[in-house]
Symmetry: C2
Amino acid sequence: MDFKNRLEAEVSGIETILDKYLPQKEGYQQIIMEAMEYSVKAGGKRIRPLLMQETYRMFGGKTVIIEPFMAAMEMLHTYSLVHDDLPAMDNDDYRRGRKTTHVVYGEAVGILAGDALLNYAYETAAKAFDHAKNTKDYEKISHALRIFMKKAGIYGMIGGQTADVTNEGKPVDKGMLDFIFRLKTGALLEASLMIGSVLAGADEKSVSVMEQIGNCIGMAFQIQDDILDVTGDEKELGKPVLSDEKNHKTTYVTLYGMDKAVKDVERYTEEAKELLCGLKTGKKVEDTDFFEDILQMLVHRNK
Amino acid sequence: MDFKNRLEAEVSGIETILDKYLPQKEGYQQIIMEAMEYSVKAGGKRIRPLLMQETYRMFGGKTVIIEPFMAAMEMLHTYSLVHDDLPAMDNDDYRRGRKTTHVVYGEAVGILAGDALLNYAYETAAKAFDHAKNTKDYEKISHALRIFMKKAGIYGMIGGQTADVTNEGKPVDKGMLDFIFRLKTGALLEASLMIGSVLAGADEKSVSVMEQIGNCIGMAFQIQDDILDVTGDEKELGKPVLSDEKNHKTTYVTLYGMDKAVKDVERYTEEAKELLCGLKTGKKVEDTDFFEDILQMLVHRNK
């Protein structure tokens, strides 16, 4: 199967998993389930569960224990978008051409839907405990859950969002920009790769290498985002270009220049590939082809 | 030691536990740690960790494994207050005589501080896994964690908040009011009592009785809240009275009348005591005196 067909099949499998784990829409609180579903099913590339699943497979994982974590990761990522779009945050009325959650359901339900997705993400991931049979299973699942929580919280994504939001309109230096990229964008990618490897039973050192790979992917992805804001096509992107310049936002391109930005996307991608190659040479993982193809797609995207 | 002194000592112990588990204020994201601490240390009766700890003791629990859950419960309760106070929700500038989080730190950090407290609550509770030595320990802790998540989420507190927020200004019938009371106020009290008993190794039936007791306490507490809004003293309460009437809010008093409201507070309190008595008779718990004293304090409070 060529990459495009395989990718389509995998993403479709992820949609099925999401449908399975999203809550029934019922009861006096039904509107919150509707808002959750609206937000999660608004599209998106499903990169995090895709990479989590492929990591799990690369390390020899073979059971459905990964599925609740895949669904949970996408729910958690979605909560961050729902809250990011709120009037007090980025104040975005549209995302991927669709009205944002708070525009459709009102601001109060927008806030609650974000809270609900964050909480339900953990409820969902914890369903993996249903498959635990012995201490080793419990160790793996609780370890994966704690990685998830840490990378989502103040030492991960929320920490990055805080630095981003509180420095809006202020001059940002390289240390701060690096911090924001690594935490806001990188943390959940790192978590996805770490969770996939932990649940497959990878050793500590391999999990740490996967964390580094996640960090490289996050950096390459975010720098590419800043590049596309300058060079991208509005129609393809589905959002206005030059928005960073308009908002006087410090980006990788304004801090380092376009040449270095383009080079660094390549540099981080290469680093990720080399780390992956090291795992393959050390017989920690087998077939890395699909993972590398996803990586290529992410950094050479034009939207 | 008389009740007042014991209560003071216990609450002071809870403050120490909270200080121990609140995150260090450091890094580029320091302001979020400051906002979290400001919100958690804004006072409050610490009822949930107090009841959780006493339940744990009543069922013979003797280790520090309960502490991360106690701190986590208060963090989670605090997140719900921080988000409730936001302009798009209740729009409150003051709570317990102090400026609310979003007034001090701005609305964006207010939203993020709530998210951070919700996420950090679970990070904190999951620290109990550090004490797990065998499958039975893992079973207990993961069970407690999942109860916590369920009671906080769309089938618990967030579900109740959703029904409350989306029915503001609309006529509310008895079924809906009951739903809101049980979920918005009751769920975290139920969770506190269930977690305390689960971690102490109580059997399933006893945990279910503690859930019922939590529900009774929640109902009595919330009905008393509605009564105090009519009969309370503004200075003692630290908030304006007759606010429900002013906001045309359906309350237990408007739906059932003051007489029945006062009687039902007693009825739910008696039910809780009877259930507790049953556990004592069945030799499931030993000394219930302090628990009953807390119960008396909660329903006979004037603030």
